[in-house]
Symmetry: C2
Subunit: 281 residues, 2 copies
Amino acid sequence: MAAVAFVRLSSLSCGVGDRCLSSPTKHWSQKRCLKIRASSSNLDPKVQTLLDSVKWDSKGLAVAIAQNVDTGAILMQGFANREALEVTISSRKATFYSRSRSSLWTKGETSMNFINVHDIFLDCDRDSIIYLGEPDGPTCHTGAQTCYYSSVYDLLDDSEFKQDRLALTTLYSLENTISLRKHEIDSMENGKPSWTKKLLLDKELLCSKVREESGELVQTLLDNEDKSRTASEMADLLYHAMVLLKLKDVKMEDVLEVLRKRFSKSGVEEKNSRKSSLKQS
Amino acid sequence: MAAVAFVRLSSLSCGVGDRCLSSPTKHWSQKRCLKIRASSSNLDPKVQTLLDSVKWDSKGLAVAIAQNVDTGAILMQGFANREALEVTISSRKATFYSRSRSSLWTKGETSMNFINVHDIFLDCDRDSIIYLGEPDGPTCHTGAQTCYYSSVYDLLDDSEFKQDRLALTTLYSLENTISLRKHEIDSMENGKPSWTKKLLLDKELLCSKVREESGELVQTLLDNEDKSRTASEMADLLYHAMVLLKLKDVKMEDVLEVLRKRFSKSGVEEKNSRKSSLKQS
């Protein structure tokens, strides 16, 4: 069976209208991506063996979940067949099998919002796949950052005030709360006073708190305080620093991208690093 | 059709051998959890409507993904039918439909490693579900924290050194790298010098760096430096603070749990908070 694959045109330079992708795909001319049909007879035997090891269901499919490598947000879930996984492995663009259209599709082939895959994981049963990647833009066809924005408990709530709400994990839920407080200030909405608002309105106070909290975190090490104190002081520092980020309109995702580029490595690089520790990390 | 559900025995006190769960289930006597068959004729009409709105496949199933509410780690993926979702909504324990056993199963009913569900999300197509929860312990039956520990690129690598590696997002990948450096020191393994090791071996240096980096972050606000400087300084602060956490054997997950308990709210609470802003946030 033949597989549809993208050709990486690494020799092409990026024109003004093109969007150059950095790691892990380097230069990829998205507009000029060509679909070719690659015969699986040319398939690397190791890839063939790996594809054989996946427990495809009776329709030849496995669940494929795309997850943001920096934030951990689950972006979308689809299904992959052998060809979709094969194409994702080689192209590093999250690719699925559309059950409704009975064809492969690479997320972003229409919207240009590709999911640039940094790593792929199989679960213990080998019938579920994670595409761990960096999205070029919103993943959902509705324009939402992810496809998961309907909370069951919100839907069951009696309140008339029903509103979409992304599935956010703790750090991003806090970031969202800080953003709401900023919005209340900017829109001059009434609301009860809050510590976050006070910090957002008083740079000197905020800066002194960030310095103070870092000092208190440090003190838990120097004074050999118990672990719960350290966790608590780190939480204080993180929260106050995130209020500062909000004032600068910087997202935690931006910070994590910096950290990833400094420290994290692709699977292969990580493996090599175990043999020869990198100087920086 | 009848659904299997757990009875919450909130009136029971926790004995020494019991493990009390905090939010969102409060006191739940796990050992004494009783399965009852609840007739769906008693089902809340709102829940019924919600269950009707899910696009169950030809087998009456939808994909259900369990995600750690604090770290964002994808813990496992299974399938839910109407009853599994219904039970999860009411019990707040992640519950699935086992296709091999043709029966409901609540993750943890054997291992006691329940996944305590804080929120549930449906995707835009209403055929995929996230159980956002707090795991009581390792999720995988192998004892691994999550079921995703096989990297496709590791498997395809020629290296003889093949080792399981959890699917980690940026923050936890960095945390893991710091742990590896600590392990190299503790086990007196040879390795190239690294900045992380230097910090781990010199508390005074580490403490001065945490203070220094917090000062530099603050300065980007006071001096109105550009956003990339703020992101970079926050990355520096976060990294150095995480090295300190390692010396204290505190995980980022512990810190996030503190933040969640301080700031995050259940869906309903969050909704209420929009009407009356809470003082602390």
